[in-house]
């Protein structure tokens, strides 16, 4: 049975920015990108410059979209993905969510491969794909996992 859960920590990206102070003309040189999650009724926007690492970003995304997933296990799966690449196969197989992004060249890439700073520079848009949709990305990631272990 599907349940929409209310996240008590849900707040807009803009409200968070206000708390961290913006300069007078309202331009804080932020790096706002759209974030979509497959199946969610609307998109969000995040300022990538508000975060210093992949785990911080994944935490924020999990909070943002927790109200659209069934229980917390799916957003936990996404957090695990950032922490541990070997969880990638589990995530894909259990059809949890996989974060992808559109880079400067218009290609859709798996989040987490490049150093954080490089990611912030090249990320134009985020899409949290349902695990099964991301199967096409698996071969490259599997190779990487194999090389690591």
């Amino acid at each position: 049975m599907f349940a929409v859960q209310k996240s008590s920590t849900e707040e807009s990206s803009h409200q968070k920015n206000e708390k961290n102070s913006m300069n007078m003309n309202g331009n804080n040189n932020g790096s706002f990108v759209k974030v979509s999650m497959d199946g969610a009724p609307y998109l969000r926007k995040v300022d990538l410059k508000m975060y210093n690492s992949y785990p911080q970003l994944s935490d924020a995304l999990a909070k943002m979209f927790s109200s659209f997933t069934i229980g917390s296990c799916e957003s936990e799966g996404m957090k695990d993905f950032f922490m541990n690449e070997r969880a990638l196969m589990d995530v894909l197989n259990s059809s949890d969510y996989v974060p992808t992004y559109e880079d400067k060249d218009g290609d859709w890439m798996l989040v987490g491969d490049v150093p954080w700073e490089m990611f912030v520079e090249s990320c134009k848009r985020l899409r949290i794909m349902k695990g099964k949709e991301a199967i096409g990305l698996a071969p490259r990631a599997m190779e990487k996992c194999k090389n690591r272990s």
Binding site: S12, H14, G39, A40
Partner: protein
């Protein structure tokens, strides 16, 4: 010299639509208060944590986004129309989205 007057429609299911010009407001608080007043939803749209009501907008790329994430000036530049979603509408849209997803109907669609 051409004067460009912009209007954005504000829609809510079951209500007559309204038109506003977002540039007449200074910030999100003013905009939301005005919309609440227009539709008799005082206190419901600003209290996103409790009420379940959501204010979303369609931008120039035809994406539907939650109002409030962008810096105000960015929002003013890209908003095309605004929609008020009731808690049940949000739930219904989420359920429909999940159903489509699980049926594989969203395959290949670039969001």
């Amino acid at each position: 010299m051409v004067l460009l007057i912009q209007c954005q429609q504000v829609q809510k299911a079951g209500s007559v639509g309204r038109s506003i010009d977002v540039t007449t407001f200074k910030n999100y608080e003013e905009l939301i208060r005005a919309i609440e007043c227009m539709f008799g939803l005082d206190g419901l749209l600003n209290d996103t944590k409790g009420s379940g009501w959501k204010l979303v907008y369609v931008d120039y790329e035809s994406d539907v986004l939650l109002v409030g994430d962008d810096p105000w000036e960015e929002f003013v530049g890209c908003v095309r129309c605004i929609r008020i979603l009731s808690p049940s509408e949000v739930q219904q849209m989420s359920e429909e989205g999940m159903k489509l997803l699980n049926s594989g109907a969203l395959q290949g669609i670039n969001v």
